[in-house]
């Protein structure tokens, strides 16, 4: 039984990973008075005075004078906790007591460490990489700029969230550590960080259900580095480009049915109806078989349940770790029971690969929902996106064994299809 315990926590992480981290604590609605890209779920929430956000639900931000108050709400599944940060200009920070639950942070930060790759991309987009002293999981990072800094020692790798190199962290003495917590009973090592007197801020963007809400976290990061104006302008660009694309897709003549993911060990984690993936698909003009489902996380289904509901889907996105279709079929020839597979309409987001098998999609995708949407619309409605060059997605080629005799399974499927 000892063989199970080490990977269990990892399993929780990969299940989140498989679902594209679609766990959302609070609703995925746009704020009142903001035009929404498509009809979705939930009611509009009244906007609050001083609030600077349009879509994000997992954090709120109020600017008053020089100070910014940020509250992160339930940043992981079952957190039932808010975290409040009061960001004050460096020269006014001294003398202010750390009051109660509110953590006072002197900004702009000059020496920070981040354990989330989303955040990393924000720092690069905002041009404040010089303030970054350390990163987590350095070996999986895609960004050439960060890799260069890792190579010449300007940024230090402090290990991954499960094997955090606390000594290296203490030695780096960051003013703030950006971290994220994957659900569970633990507090993700927050107590340990506090003991080591390492101030930490929780990044909860993966809990956002709305793709634009997830991207809006650039405002969160920017506030700590005195780049609020730059973040507002970057986000406005993303927002308008996303909405323009969604409007384009809304005009599509028909909505192709899409199946997402792949089975692992007999279980197929299918993103529920109230998730980031479902929302992107709806905005891209797809018919998602689980769109009517109300699950915020992923559904753990077996192959037959997925086959019965989505076997006739025209498009299959985010399949398994496959080089090509022949490769996939060699793993399990039952994939050919899916129409999209037989017709060669399987698309994976691994066009940009980085060192150690990482995918740029997982690093950059969350920060650029407009680019993700553009790829998805080009897959679903190529006629709407003439000349579009895929950024992350590639259509899986047939592969070398495609010409050989199909198996019994594929033959049976072919007759039925």
């Amino acid at each position: 039984m000892g063989i199970f315990s080490p990977p269990l926590r990892f399993a929780a992480a990969i299940i989140l990973g498989l679902s594209g981290c679609d766990h959302s604590a609070s609703g995925g609605q746009a704020k009142a008075g903001v035009e929404r890209p498509s009809s979705g779920h939930g009611e509009n929430r009244p906007s609050r005075e001083g609030e600077a956000l349009r879509y994000a639900e997992v954090f709120s931000m109020f600017r008053s004078g020089n100070a910014t108050r940020i509250t992160v709400h339930d940043p992981w599944q079952g957190a039932h906790r808010d975290f409040t940060y009061l960001l004050v200009p460096r020269d006014q920070a001294s003398g202010r007591a750390q009051g109660g639950d509110t953590q006072i942070v002197a900004v702009p930060l000059r020496r920070a460490v981040t354990l989330t790759t989303t955040n990393l991309r924000h720092l690069e987009d905002l041009g404040v990489l010089d303030a970054l002293a350390g990163v987590g999981s350095g070996r999986y990072i895609c960004s050439p700029a960060v890799r260069q800094r890792l190579a010449d020692g300007r940024i230090r790798d402090v290990g991954d969230d499960m094997h955090l190199d606390l000594e290296a962290l203490v030695e780096l003495r960051p003013e703030l550590l950006f971290t994220y917590i994957v659900g569970g009973s633990s507090d993700g090592g927050l107590a340990k960080l506090a003991e080591a007197r390492l101030p930490a801020a929780i990044e909860g963007s993966y809990m956002e259900e709305n793709p634009l809400g997830r991207a809006e976290w650039i405002k969160f990061t920017a506030a700590f580095f005195g780049k609020a104006a730059a973040a507002d302008s970057i986000f406005t660009g993303i927002d308008s480009s996303y909405r323009a694309l969604a409007a384009l897709a809304a005009g599509a003549a028909r909505k192709p049915v899409v199946v997402v993911g792949a089975p692992f060990g007999g279980a197929w984690w299918v993103p529920g109806g109230h998730t980031y993936v479902a929302r992107l698909l709806a905005d891209a003009g797809a018919a998602y078989p689980w769109a009517g489902d109300t699950t915020r996380g992923s559904l753990n289904l077996d192959l037959e349940a997925v086959l019965a509901k989505a076997g006739g889907a025209e498009i299959w996105i985010n399949g398994g770790e496959w080089k090509d279709l022949a490769d996939a079929r060699a793993q399990d020839d039952r994939y050919a029971l899916f129409r999209a597979f037989r017709e060669g309409n399987v698309w994976n987001n691994d066009r940009i690969r980085c060192a150690d098998g990482g995918r740029d999609f997982f690093e950059t995708g969350a920060t650029r929902p407009d680019w993700v949407l553009a790829d998805l619309i080009a897959i679903l409605h190529p006629e709407l996106m003439p000349g579009h060059v895929m950024r992350w997605y590639r259509r899986l080629p047939a592969g070398k064994r495609a010409g050989t005799e199909p198996s019994a399974g594929a033959r049976a499927a072919g007759k039925n299809g």
Binding site: I3, P7, I14, G266, E304, A308, E321, Q331
Partner: protein
Amino acid sequence: MMGNPIGPAQERPPIQAAARLPAWAGLVVLAVLLAALLILGLACGSVHVPIHAAASILFGRPVGDPVWRDILWQLRMPRCLTAALAGSGLAVSGLLMQTLFRNPLAGPYSLGISAGATLGVALAVLAGAGAGALPGLPALSHLGPQLGTAGSAVAGAAAVMLLVLAVSRRIRSNSTLLILGLMFGQIAGGLVAVLQAFSDSERLRAFTFWGFGSYAGVTWAQLPALGIATGLGILMAAFCAKPLNALLLGWTYARSLGVNAGRLRAMLLASTSLLAGAVTAFCGPVAFLGLAVPHLCRGMFRTADHRVLLPACVLLGAALSLASDLACRLPGGGRTLPLNAVTALVGAPVVIAILVRRRAARDE
């Protein structure tokens, strides 16, 4: 438990004990039960297929939704056959180990044999020794890597089995042997964890899911390999039935009856490693079936005769395995439970009952 080895010899029912019902009748009952569970396994699933439609489809007359035929033939059939083969294989290997080590709590899982097989799989998958250029365990289904991974699992199982065998000749205490088996399993688990620390995320993900145990991932293309390995292992066990009966009364007695001890050990080693290794490679480490089924069979047939227990373990192992797999689908709506959760919930109470009953018998 430490100081009081559980002596099976004096508590095990004698070979000649009067059976409650004739052995052949009991076996027929088990066969009927197995057939019923097979039908249930084919008929039940997250997608509702009416029973008459399922029957028509199985007899080659496609009716209703065409997807039903795929669900029955491509998904449920291999899954049920895998469950039956794996259950039989694990139960037989458990029976052999319990007699060989004269230890009621011996089994592929409790003696660390499954952990050895897991290490073999980890070496093949995580370290890439299985010649599979592809990341991840699904590479199992390429014929080359598939046999490579399964072979690696069998070798891992055999290595631990050899260790346990070697140690068992020096150690008389049953509980010490179990603890040693547990320790070998822990060592194998530790090595697996080390391999995991050095493998990339995709391989790790595939390996972790495999570790939960499942019958659903085995395809028609893989079934022949699993079938041949299980069949061969059970066939070898069948040849050992008579010498195993002699072994119940000790090696000295068995030798006096002309049993070639070395050859018997080698046969049992080969059979148990093949069964536990192959099942583990294809279905992941499945707990408790190997340990619990032989006891249920002994209780049902009131005999220690391997000529009865072997076929009984084949039938009941397959039936209980199918029942566990059915229980995995109980939540309904396409949601499934992990196989190991179900086998633990079914098997662990059996083990507890054995311990309590033996303790009570001794205390009287």
